[in-house]
Symmetry: C2
Subunit: 355 residues, 2 copies
């Protein structure tokens, strides 16, 4: 068993793997989950339970729909403006990382993006603050957790403009107040389930105001009307997401996860700060709990530590090429024992390299 | 074990289920296929082999790209005109079923659809013939197999216009000449693999001629440039598709499948025609090999036969609500033994109901 610190697709609970594996052989009456009709009552029940779990775990109020879609968070980058931005309209975007900037890039097909602030010049090592969101923006878009840089935005900016958030890499990791958002979206492949599924939480009344003609598959309304079965859904990814959300609920839900995630992050950041061989890469006040980026103080030690980690059963610790160094992604399913193992590794590496 | 005649998601080979199930537990070094990075060399190899198998099995010539996408065939309904239709342009469509008509519906967001022929008034019981494709059409679109109605178009209309084909429900079931097509697309969930994956085969030179600004995720070029990894792909669906295509190759490839599919279809149609209790629902010359639709001569016998089939271990035989009666979907992975079992069932049902 390796310690999987990968950034996503990422570790899920071992019991979820076991249950998903079993369902590939026999979901009902000897039929595989891969060969059942998405229109069967059994799969209807899966979709229903998945939606119910998302609503329950995030406390989604009435008036919101939960959609199970395909295309990843990347398809949302264009679906959001296509559904919310009137012709000639402008939307406000916070540029806090590469994913944010990719979302910004897609707006031009539908209107204008007003980048209210950016930390690009500092290689996205902090989250911009003190910006103004013009009141006539069609919406304000931000990324709650910048997966690549390891920064996280915990306090939602106060604004009267509708808020859209890419929560791909920190959804379900901490409590949020859904009433403050108009659209929340997330690629499933971190805290929700396997790749191939995108979860969208949408305030119904925000839709249908642009007068645009939207292709059916790109229109949130089709998917709301179709109960996320406008067309054949990604059956296995939804089923496995359901298993994972059941696990999350059994562990005490998002509030309990948040406590654990705080503990996990605190333990690792403490070691990074204490250990003279390592240092964090981003602003302390913006440190993410999900993706912890660090480098060796001595660049010469980067490769040796990478090798040492690999030899000792650590997976996925390599930092994104735009940051370098290391990134420990610590999603819900990563056990705290893996974090302690990493800390031990850093300490024994320190011992080895004592002058 | 039930005989799974479902229309899709549908039966895949038992050995594919076994291998996919095992990979959910351990794909490499004890890591699940669900938790590995899509940027890992191991998954790169999976994508590469999947693309290679599609090319090999369908004899895809150079100058074509094979894309592994999300969104189902339904997203292709709008991606095709968005990528191929110039502003104000017209594309020719053959209306041979509900899927064709849904594809037609999406064209209006980008230009005009010229429906060259339709069998809608006959509830799509035959495939229209003797139509004219205007030479100035941007492309001609048709559905090779009408899943709901059980009709199949074996002879590609001769035209100089670029040809786009929705092969969702008969791809890999018979040999085709890819050089005759500019785009072939198919939701994977019949002959390719599990739901959540769409395969697109595209002649590269057809692209980039409309001058449109296309959102990245909807632009075939992004996916060609990204090697089907423009964003996180549906990892498990691709992996399982690879396993299934390996199986197909090991069985002798598409030519061998075609022989078997002809034998399977012939056996069942012969019984439908012979058995006085049953009759086919569509034009004999357009009968599909993949989806065989039939009804009971006496409407009173429909429910009893459905019950009898269910009790005897038959799954997914219910016809689509727009046709009624029964539909036996007989994709590649359905063993001929299941077809013989169905024929036996029809014969013993005949015995029981002899006057
Ligand atoms: C914050 C964030 N947004 C968007 C994406 C893109 O997601 P997808 O690959 O599902 O399109 C990612 C991928 O890691 C991400 O971390
Ligand atoms: C011929 C054909 N085209 C398109 C579709 C729609 O596919 P999807 O559900 O993947 O969007 C289907 C679904 O069964 C089909 O049979
Ligand atoms: Mg980022
Ligand atoms: Mg330090
Ligand atoms: Mg049809
Ligand atoms: Mg008969």
């Amino acid at each position: 068993m390796r310690h999987n610190f990968g950034a996503g697709p990422c570790i899920l609970p071992q019991e979820v793997f076991k249950q998903a594996s079993a369902a590939v052989l026999d979901f009902k009456d000897g039929l595989s989950i891969l060969e059942i009709s998405h229109r069967s009552p059994e799969f209807d029940a899966v979709v229903e339970e998945t939606v119910k779990l998302v609503k329950e775990l995030l406390n989604v109020p009435s008036g919101y729909s939960v959609l199970l879609l395909q295309g990843g968070a990347s398809l949302q980058f264009s679906m959001v403006p296509q559904n919310l931005l009137p012709e000639g309209g402008t939307a406000a975007y916070l540029d806090s990382g590469v994913w944010a900037s990719k979302a910004i890039k897609e707006v031009k097909h539908f209107g204008k993006a007003n980048v209210v602030a950016s930390s690009k010049d500092a290689n996205y090592t902090f989250i911009p603050k003190d910006y103004v969101i013009p009141q006539d923006s069609a919406y304000f878009h931000y990324t709650s957790n910048n997966t690549i840089y390891g920064t996280e935005l915990f306090d939602l900016p106060v604004t009267k403009v509708p808020v859209v958030c890419d929560m791909s890499s920190d959804i379900m990791s901490r409590e949020i107040d859904v009433t403050k958002y108009d659209i929340i979206y997330a690629g499933a492949q971190k805290n929700i389930g396997p790749a191939g599924l995108t979860v969208v939480i949408i305030k119904d009344e925000i839709l249908g105001k642009t007068g645009r003609s939207i292709p059916s598959m790109l229109d949130y309304k089709s998917h709301i009307d179709g109960g996320s079965m406008y067309n054949t859904p990604p059956v296995f990814s939804i089923y496995t997401a359901m298993l994972n959300l059941r696990w999350l609920k059994s562990k005490g839900g998002v509030a309990e996860m948040e406590k654990e995630n705080i503990a996990k992050a605190k333990a690792l950041y403490t070691e990074i700060d204490r250990n003279p061989l390592f240092k964090g890469t981003c602003a302390v006040e913006d440190r993410s709990r999900m993706n912890i980026c660090f480098v060796t103080e001595d660049p010469e030690l980067e490769k040796p530590f990478a090798k040492y980690a690999d030899e000792n059963g650590f997976e996925g610790l390599k930092g994104h090429r735009s940051v370098g160094g290391f990134r420990a992604s610590m999603y819900n399913a990563l056990p705290i024992t893996s974090v302690h193992a990493l800390i031990d590794l850093m300490q024994s590496f320190e011992e080895k390299h004592k002058k």
